[in-house]
């Protein structure tokens, strides 16, 4: 399980924060992480511009209260699907954590992804680790101010673009862009663009690993999903210790040394500023930068790679690897069941809803012909992306008459149609003061679009 060092555990909260200058690193896992960063940022920045039919492919249209997810249009009534999606996202996190440890943190978390992007800009402008440290220590000079100003300008432009993109998920982005250029942005759109920009700038530019250490709940509870077969990044002390510097090509074993040359590169590349050689720590986001750094040194020293590597607690102790274990199977089963339920529900979902509201002002009234009449307001929600015509009928009482002013009801695509209808029944057919009736709505052009809604019909009752 997670063994936490006591001296950097909870007490770290009270330590003064030291700025971390992660050293640049190259290698297999770094390339993998960069690939992930580029793909994820690419999706984020380009997705709002993708089209589906004649609209934005992914749009959470808050003003219209509709969520467009490719071919699917979700209404507030479909809230359950979003809730299910969120639960599945949570469960996936459990599943992948149990199996692969903190891959989410190291490769996919927005905090990591944007921090990498901001760090990349910082490197391009301020130079490598040594130069950045020197620059920060240097007294204020025109050159220093110029470099810093350039960095912050680039960061702010990137942040604003990020904020604009974010709002573009909630307001059609082409219109938003148009309003941006004509200076016609609404006050709240402007506010949210700036808010999200500021959050990105602060989180990726300044907070960085502190978000993971102090703000992230997942970092705190992920150890609950860990077991001895979870993938972790680990240093192998039995091979590395005792650490120490030595000349290349000398027999270190004869000098009583382990494979670790104590070059400290694993510490310098760490974005959270820990020493992986101290064992598994909750600050470790499993980004594997230290693996690449160490492998490079091992290559230079002509030692075998893997002094720091992905392993599991059991594998490190020579007990073998167990991928399929109860914990993983349970997470996978729940995930699959939920996925099946979600998909089958989405497939069987009828994009039609009928709300019946009885007129609250009068219980009932008598028509000139002596019939008992109730008035209802119907709301027809055509949640389909095509317009439809519907036929309405009502039943529940012998000789029940439905009075409307239209034979067929036409409802536009993705819209709500409200109408008032009257039901009339003979007093002799009403057994009680309140009898159940039902409205049946059937689309004329699509058989599966049909719905039944129950209501009450009030009368004087049997006397």
């Amino acid at each position: 399980m997670q063994s936490q060092k006591t001296n950097t555990g909870e007490q770290g909260l009270y330590a003064e924060h030291k700025k971390i200058y992660p050293r640049e690193v190259s290698g297999y896992f770094t390339r993998l992480r960069m690939l992930s960063v580029v793909v994820l940022l690419g999706i984020y920045y380009l997705m709002p511009f993708a089209r589906w039919d004649d609209r934005q492919a992914l749009l959470f249209d808050l003003p219209a209260r509709k969520f467009y997810i490719f071919g699917l249009t979700l209404w507030p009534q479909d809230f359950i699907y979003l809730a299910a999606l969120l639960i599945m996202a949570g469960l996936s996190l459990f599943f992948f954590t149990a199996l692969l440890g903190r891959v989410w943190c190291g490769y996919a978390c927005p905090q990591t992804v944007w921090t990498e992007a901001y760090l990349w800009m910082e490197r391009k402008i301020e130079g490598n680790r040594g130069r950045r440290m020197k620059l920060d220590k240097a007294p204020t000079s025109a050159a220093k101010i110029r470099t810093k100003a350039l960095k912050h300008t680039v960061w702010i432009i990137f942040s604003l673009w990020t904020g604009f993109t974010f709002v573009g998920y909630f307001t059609p982005i082409y219109e938003l862009g148009g309003r941006l250029f004509t200076g016609d942005l609404g006050p709240w759109e402007t506010f949210w663009i700036l808010f999200y920009s500021f959050a990105t700038y602060g989180n990726a530019g300044f907070m960085r690993e502190q978000v993971c250490k102090y703000m992230c709940p997942y970092a705190r509870f992920q150890s609950a999903m860990f077991d001895s077969d979870t993938l972790i990044v680990a240093y192998h002390p039995e091979r590395g210790e005792p650490r120490g510097s030595r000349r290349r090509g000398t027999d270190f074993e004869a000098q009583g040394l382990g494979a670790c040359i104590d070059c400290n590169l694993c510490v310098q590349v760490c974005p959270t500023g820990i020493d992986i050689r101290d064992g598994l720590q909750y600050e470790c986001i499993a980004c594997s930068a230290c693996i690449d750094a160490c492998d490079e040194i091992m290559d230079k020293m002509s030692y075998p790679r893997g002094l720091i590597k992905y392993t599991t607690e059991n594998a490190a102790e020579g007990k073998g690897q167990h991928i399929l274990r109860p914990r993983v199977m349970v997470y996978a089963t729940i995930l699959l069941v939920l996925f099946g339920l979600l998909v089958s529900n989405l497939v069987l979902r009828i994009p039609l809803e009928l709300d019946v509201i009885r007129d609250r002002n009068t219980l009932y009234r008598e028509t000139r012909d002596g019939l008992i009449e109730n008035v209802y307001t119907l709301k027809i929600l055509n949640m389909d992306e095509q317009p439809h015509r519907y036929i309405l009928r009502a039943e529940g009482v012998d000789g029940l008459k439905l009075v409307t002013d239209q034979e067929e009801i036409f409802v536009e695509a993705s819209s709500v149609y409200e109408m008032v209808v009257r039901l009339q029944a003979d007093e002799f057919n009403l057994e009680q003061r309140s009898v159940p009736v039902s409205f049946h709505l059937q689309a004329t052009d699509a058989n599966h679009l049909s719905i039944v809604e129950e209501a009450r019909f009030l009368g004087p009752g049997k006397t």
Binding site: L13, Y14, L62, P76, F79, W188, Y214
Partner: protein, 97 residues
């Protein structure tokens, strides 16, 4: 908590601010989502006042109200924990004297 944080006054204010602002922010997002899925902003104008707010404004104001509620709650929690720690520290100080 009490035994592991003997000197809560040493927690930097920025971390206290984060501890209050951040969980309430996350909670406010969830609360806003659930609340406005159930209620349409136009049905919510208090006392039938005839004010014209755009949906985006209504959602934003709703979000900030939820955030404010969360901030009050988180701040109260932090206040109680810290003041309890201080009382305990004082008592322990008296015993050791």
């Amino acid at each position: 908590m009490v035994s592991t944080s003997p000197f809560p006054e040493k927690i930097p204010s920025i971390q206290k601010a984060i501890a209050v602002l951040w969980p309430s922010f996350a909670t406010a997002i969830v609360a806003t989502g659930i609340f406005f899925s159930a209620f349409h902003p136009k049905d919510l104008v208090p006392f039938n006042l005839d004010i014209d707010v755009s949906p985006l404004a209504a959602y934003s104001i709703g979000f900030f109200l939820f955030w404010l509620l969360g901030i009050v709650s988180s701040y109260a929690t932090m206040y109680f924990i810290i003041s309890n720690c201080q009382v305990l520290n004082k008592q322990q100080g008296q015993f050791t004297k």
